[in-house]
Amino acid sequence: MLNYMIGEVYRVLHKKSLYLFIVGFLILSVGAIVVAQAAGMDAEDLLGGMEAIFTMIPTIIGGYLFSAFYSDDLNSKNLPTVIGYGITRPVIVISKLLLVTIFAGIFCAVLPIFLMGVLVVLGVAQPGVILDIAMKGMYALSLKSLLEIVGFSAVAAIVVFGFQRSTFGVVSYLMLALGVVTQIASTILNLKFVTDIIPGLSNYLLTNITMNVLMAMMGIGQLLTYCIQFGLYIAVATVLAIVAFKAKELEF
C-alpha cells in the first residue's frame, strides 16, 4: 500500500497542472482581496468575505485533486498495470482516498496562513486578537472544506470504480461539490410522505454533517457525534466503492 501511495505521490507531483492550478487559485484569491480592498471594504468585511474563498475549495481544489488521483488512471488505462502488479482493489480505493485527504489537508492547512499573510502585507489587518479570531474561523472553514473534499471523493469513488469512466466520476464529484446532489436529495427527503415515514433524514446529508462539524467546532452541538456520522459516511462509501470495483470487469 505504501509503495502504491509513494508512486501516486511521485506521479501527481510531476503534473505541471497541479502547480498551475494551485498558483492560479492563490492568485485569484489575492486578486479578490485586492479588488475588495480597492472597492472600499473595511477589514471586518474583508475577513468575513474570506468565507467565499473557502467555499470554492471543494469545487476547484477538490475537483482538481479528485481528477488527478481518480481519473488519470482511467484515462491512461493504467489500472490494469497496477492490479497486475499485485496491488489489490481495496488497497487502490483506500490509498486514493488517503492521498486526496493528505493533499487537500496540506492545502487547507496552508491556505489560511497564506491569506492572513496577504491581509497583513496589504495592511488590511494587523497582528493581534482580531486576527487570531479570524485565523481560527478560517481554519474552521478550511477544515469544513477538507471534510467536504474527502466526503465527496469517497462518494464519487463509487461511481468512478463502479463504471470505470472518468467523466462519470468527475461529473459526480462536481455535482456533489456544487451542491446539486444535496439540493435534489434535500427536496426528496423533505417530501411529506418521506418525512412521515422517517423525519429529519436530510440532516444526515454529507453537506449538513460537515456544517454540523463546523458549528460544533464553534461550540454548537456534539463534535464527536458529527465526527462519527462523517466517519460512517466515509466507511460505507469506501466499502461500496470496493464492492463496485470488484464487481466490474476492468476496462482496457
Binding site: 509503495n3 508512486g7 511521485y10 503534473k15 488519470d72 493504467n78 490494469p80 497486475g84 499485485g86
Partner: protein
Amino acid sequence: MEILLQTHNLTKKYGGFTALNEVSLNLNQGDIYGLVGRNGAGKTTFFKCVMGLAKASGGEIEINGSKSGLDKSRRKIGFMISPAFFPYLNPRQNLKYLCRIKGVKAKGEIDRLLELVGLKGVKKPFKAFSLGMKQRLGIASALLGNPPVIILDEPINGLDPQGIADIRALIKKENNENGTTFIVSSHILSELDLVATRFGFIEQGNLVEQITHTDLHEHTKKSLIVDVDDGQIAAAVLKAKLGVEELTLRDNRLILDTHLDQPDAIAKALVQEGVALYRLAPQETTLEEYFMKLIGGGKHA
C-alpha cells in the same frame, strides 16, 4: 523441468459467450512460449485471467506450483498486455512510477531498460510517442525488476521491420542471458516461429495444441511426393541407385525427406527400371497452413 505457470481448465465466460474454454496450458522454465491465435481467439483474455485482471469463470491458475496467494505470486511476473502509461510523464518518469509501485530499488535499472529498448535519452512525454515507441516502453515495463516470467501480448503490433527484429533479439537475449521465461502472443505465426521454443495454438477459446518448435517443424518440413505403380519396387530402386535410406511409403506413394534437390535423378532412376511414374512433386506445409489445418478453417493466423 520446472513448471512456472500452469492453468487447469481455465474458463472465462462473458454472458453467453465463452472466451476461454477449459484451457490447460503449462509454461516451463526457460520457455519462449508462443501463443498463437487469430484476433479474438482468446489470447488476451487468457493473459487477463492469469494476471488477475479478469475473473475466471472456472478452472484454476497455478504460479510457481501454488494455487493460493496469487496476488503475491503475480508480483514476480512482468507483463505487457496493452502499453498504458501516463500521457504527461516521459518514459523515465513512467518507469520511475512503476518502480515505486513495484518496490524496485535496483540502482540503474531504469537506465538499463531504457537502453535495452532504445529509448534512452527520450525526453518527450508518452502522449507524443509513436506506436512503436509505446510498445518499446511497454516491454521495458514488463522487464522491470528482472521478473523470472514475462507475458507479452502482441508485442510486435505496430512495429516496423527493424523494431520487430529488435524485439525478437531482446527476447532471445533476456532468455539466453538471464534465463527469463517468456509467453508471447501473436497472430503472426511466422514471426513467433523465429523466436519461440514452444507453441500453443488457441482458437475460439480452445487450446487446440501445444507443441515444441522441433515438433512443429517436423510437421511442416519440405518433402518430395512420388506416386508410382508399385511403391515397394520404387523404394528398392531408389535405395539401390541413389542411396535413399529413409522414406515413407504409403500405398504407392513415397514421401522423401532427403534428395529434395534431385527430382530429375529420381525420375530417371525409376523410369529406367520400368516403374511407372505418375507424379513427382515437392511438398511443403507452411506454418500458416499447419495452423489453418489445426483450426479447421481457411482464415489467416
